[in-house]
């Protein structure tokens, strides 16, 4: 029985409430931000690797893409939840808007330095909305840190212990936010809201550049009445010679505890079915989400999908060319949904010019750390 309980935060709450009432589902879909919460709930969940071993269904942890499964795997390499819908941020380009402003849409946009000059040219060419973003914390801080191989939080971004502290106020992050603040002040970066509100502006053709999840593909390709491109997320040439990998967003499937052995057998088979190459290829091609197994990616390429739909492999390449480091494996922070809320608030302070990036991120660290300490106390 599947049931829809609303957005990611609401689903997690419904799952928790159901568990407290001992009415929990066999499988709960939890967004990546809730990973630490689920992991800490040892008596409430059953690790996927354990369920798969018991059920006897075919399961090969090595078949999954490293950067995808890493987020949901312990430091010992045991898979705790099954990655399901995973995406990563990319740069979307409205080619028509570039041409209208007299800027070459084929210009190199792989670095923020180049994007900066593109924004200058777009603005000079009369573009009112040169750059817009979705999910600002996820893209411009979490992924930014991984991509530039700097820590977002101590203790391997929280993977190595609950006593982690935020490190998002480092010089690399501040440099990026300072540039973004300047762009916001000059009307080159338009802030539209905390979630993906900017998507409406971009899909309507109002904006030239859009940093958004690769999973925006389904919406953009069906609605956009302009030529668009998908480019890799830009990096700062001044900070790194070449970028590390980006990290994922999206959700994974957690197996809940307290069910019969018979149920777990079924769960094992279902998860094995979901991981099969056919299901994953279809999923990847239709939605823009990443394939979770290497095989599905290979099958998609072999079927000629990437040639017919240029740009759909950008996210896959961006995630998989480099082996993830401790800074780019993912994030595992308690109360992270709420910490993102704090980061959103502080970023709004930057965009409106109320705070300098350093002040805002120092404050985000201080407030976020307080929540991390409480999480440590509740789950330690």
């Amino acid at each position: 029985m599947q049931s829809h309980k609303g957005n990611y935060s609401e689903t997690l709450n419904a799952g928790i409430a159901a568990f407290r009432a001992q009415e929990q589902p066999d499988i709960l879909m939890v967004f990546e931000v809730g990973t630490a919460t689920m992991m800490a709930a040892k008596g409430a969940v059953r690790p996927v690797y354990e369920v798969m071993a018991e059920s006897g269904a075919s399961f090969d942890p090595d078949a999954y893409i490293g950067a995808v499964k890493g987020y949901y795997t312990t430091t010992e390499g045991d898979m705790l939840s099954l990655p399901f819908n995973s995406s990563t941020p990319v740069l979307w380009v409205n080619r028509d808007a570039f041409e209208a402003a007299g800027v070459d849409p084929d210009m190199d946009l792989s670095t923020w330095e180049n994007v900066g000059s593109a924004l200058d040219a777009l603005k000079a060419g009369g573009e009112d909305c040169p750059l817009v973003t979705a999910w600002q914390s996820w893209i411009h801080l979490e992924n930014f840190s991984a991509y530039h191989n700097v820590p977002f939080a101590s203790k391997d971004n929280g993977f190595a212990g609950l006593d982690t502290e935020l490190m998002l106020n480092g010089p690399a992050q501040i440099a990026h936010l300072t540039a973004m603040q300047d762009w916001a002040e000059e009307g080159k970066f338009i802030y539209t809201g905390r979630r993906n509100e900017g998507g409406a502006n971009f899909r309507a053709g109002d904006c030239a550049l859009f940093t958004e999840s690769s999973a925006g593909y389904a919406g953009i390709s069906s609605e956009a009445e302009f030529e668009f491109d998908v480019r890799p997320l830009p990096y700062w040439k001044a900070l790194v010679d070449e970028p590390q990998n980006t990290i994922i967003g999206g959700a994974s499937l957690w197996v809940m505890a307290g069910k019969d052995a018979e149920n777990y057998k079924g769960v094992g088979e279902f998860l094995s079915f979901l991981s099969s190459s056919d299901v994953q290829s279809a999923w990847h091609q239709n939605t823009g989400y990443l394939p979770i197994t290497t095989e599905a990616g290979v099958a998609t390429r072999a079927a000629g999908f990437y040639e017919q739909n240029p740009g759909t492999d950008v996210a896959v390449i961006q995630m998989t060319t480099k082996e993830p480091t401790a800074n780019s494996k993912g994030l595992r922070l308690g109360s992270f949904d709420q910490i993102r809320g704090i980061i959103d608030e502080e970023l709004e302070g930057i965009w409106s010019g109320d705070k300098t990036p350093q002040e805002a991120m120092d404050s985000a660290k201080e407030r976020g750390d307080a929540l991390l300490r409480r999480f440590e106390q509740a789950n330690g």
Binding site: S9, L12, N13, I16, F19, R20, T37, A40, A41, K42, G43, A44, Y191, T192, G193, R194, E197, A200, N201, A204, D206, S335, D337, Q338, G341, D344, E345, E346, E348, G349, W351, S352, D354, R367, A370, L371, R374, F375, Q377, A378, N379
Partner: protein, 293 residues
């Protein structure tokens, strides 16, 4: 001399108040007691374990400058919502009261917004002021004003206040209108004969006679602004930008259901309970003295 009717024995009166007591106990006292109990612990989200921290949750909250800021935000928000919903309602009621023809239609139309749920009202206003497709923000843009409640805290506060007050105007209107109808005509006519013009009569006779109603509405509206505006804030601003529209109730929600921090959330509920209790005491002790029944 006051006349008192008394019951003989205990059984009948106990039986008569039993349903009310039972409902209060199940739906109010039990949850309140639970909140107080839970505020002394830090539990994990799944309820697998919890540790006793005494007043630790309260210490944590009162040491948090953002929590203290939420008090100020709540005070400003409640004051504005109360004023913005009571003053226009009174004005409309006075005008409707003067109507001879068609007051029924006018009245009915004015009551409609009350039927709109807060969350829906929030979405309606959000549509009008949406920075990209909103009608009002577009007109403001034409006038050269760049509306952006997504970044401007003052504008965000204004928008949630208007959206919250809008539906309440109907409710307040209804009460004021009924109260106006019960103002004795003879007093007003006597004043008119003495040469008092309309506004003079309004301020010296009508308004004092309306004071019990106004007082009742004051209490009800403050409580409304405290507790029932959640839907409006959730749909329009989500507490932002920064924390400019995070009122106490919204923080209970975001800490409890976004942050899964049930200990802190319970402690906040207890603090709210105390605040509202105090407010009611103050209102009844001081404001009521100025009310003429």
């Amino acid at each position: 001399m006051e006349k008192r009717v008394t019951f003989r024995g205990w059984m009948l009166p106990l039986l008569l108040i039993a349903p009310q007591v039972l409902v209060s106990a199940v739906f109010f006292f039990y949850p309140a007691a639970q909140a107080i109990w839970q505020s002394l612990f830090i539990p994990d989200p799944f309820g697998l374990s919890s540790q006793f921290v005494g007043l630790g949750n309260f210490e944590f909250l009162l040491g948090d400058k953002f929590y203290r800021a939420a008090f100020v935000t709540t005070a400003v928000f409640s004051l504005l919502v109360t004023l913005c919903s009571m003053i226009p309602a009174l004005f409309l009621a006075v005008i409707a009261d003067r109507l001879i023809k068609g007051s029924g239609v006018y009245r009915t139309m004015l009551i409609w917004p009350y039927a709109v749920a807060p969350a829906v009202a929030g979405v309606l206003w959000l549509f009008m002021f949406n920075t990209r497709v909103g009608v009002v923000s577009w007109y403001l843009g034409q006038l050269g004003y760049d509306w952006n409640h997504v970044l401007n805290g003052g504008e965000a506060m204004g928008l949630v206040v208007v959206a919250s007050a809008w539906g309440r105007i109907s409710y307040n209107f209804l009460f004021f209108f009924a109260a106006l109808q019960s103002v004795p005509r003879s007093v007003i006519e006597a004043a008119a004969i003495d040469g008092a013009h309309f506004w003079r009569r309004f301020f010296t006779i009508v308004l004092p006679l309306l004071s019990p109603t106004a007082f009742f509405l004051l209490v009800v509206n403050v409580v409304y602004a405290f507790f029932e505006t959640f839907g409006v804030i959730h749909t329009i601003t989500g507490g932002g930008p920064q924390q400019s529209t995070t009122i106490l109730v919204y923080k209970v929600f975001s800490d409890g259901f976004v942050g899964q921090d049930l200990g802190s959330s319970s402690a906040q509920s207890v603090i709210l309970l105390v605040v509202v209790g105090l407010l009611t005491v103050i209102q009844f002790k001081y404001v009521e003295k100025r009310v003429h029944y």
